[in-house]
């Protein structure tokens, strides 16, 4: 099974600049699961999109307006969310912060960047 090393050290993992105030660090993964850290500047957005993966997210820092389907909620450090497969979702960063995004199965579209 393809998988990451056992340990990920923040100081050793490069930040990928995704543009428009969004950066990403790739953390642990195998075929069933993948964890990524996504850092946002204030005003940065994740455009509305959908994917076949289940997604759970933890807000590590900051304040965000999160849309999942037809619900919009303001979430902040300590909160989280869950996105069913194929449900359209998007986010706007209100105060600079970071999300811990976890997907099942792995985001094969993220892998070439590792």
């Amino acid at each position: 099974m393809v998988h990451s090393p056992a340990f990920q050290f923040d100081s050793e993992i490069p930040w990928q600049d995704l543009g428009n105030g969004v950066q990403r660090q790739m953390f642990g993964y195998d075929e069933k699961i993948m964890l990524v850290k996504v850092k946002f500047e204030a005003g940065a957005t994740g455009a509305m999109h959908e994917h076949h993966h289940s997604q759970v997210t933890y807000v590590e820092d900051g304040v965000f307006d999160m849309t999942i389907g037809d619900e919009v909620k303001r979430i902040k450090k300590g909160d989280g969310y869950y996105v069913l497969p194929h449900v359209v979702h998007g986010i706007t960063c209100i105060e600079p912060g970071m999300l811990i995004d976890v997907f099942s199965p792995l985001r094969e579209d993220f892998l070439p960047a590792i």
Copy 2:
């Protein structure tokens, strides 16, 4: 498919006291994935154990000594780890902190507590 609500608000989710300085909050989940927050006092431990789930973890706060198989590493806020199915692992909290543990598939053994 069984799944959590879309949003989890820190202030609304009870902490389950697991004893010996460890507490847990249940966050987003479905059949493929489950995110939990686990808070540790200094000196608290997660005894060596194994399970069939893949696991990815992010260190939200604190300092820990983490054992995965025959590797032991000191990890701190911002770091993470990945555990292959059935690999024995355990943790000791050095400075109070919190882990974001994510499993695939869901931890069916955690569900009765939700």
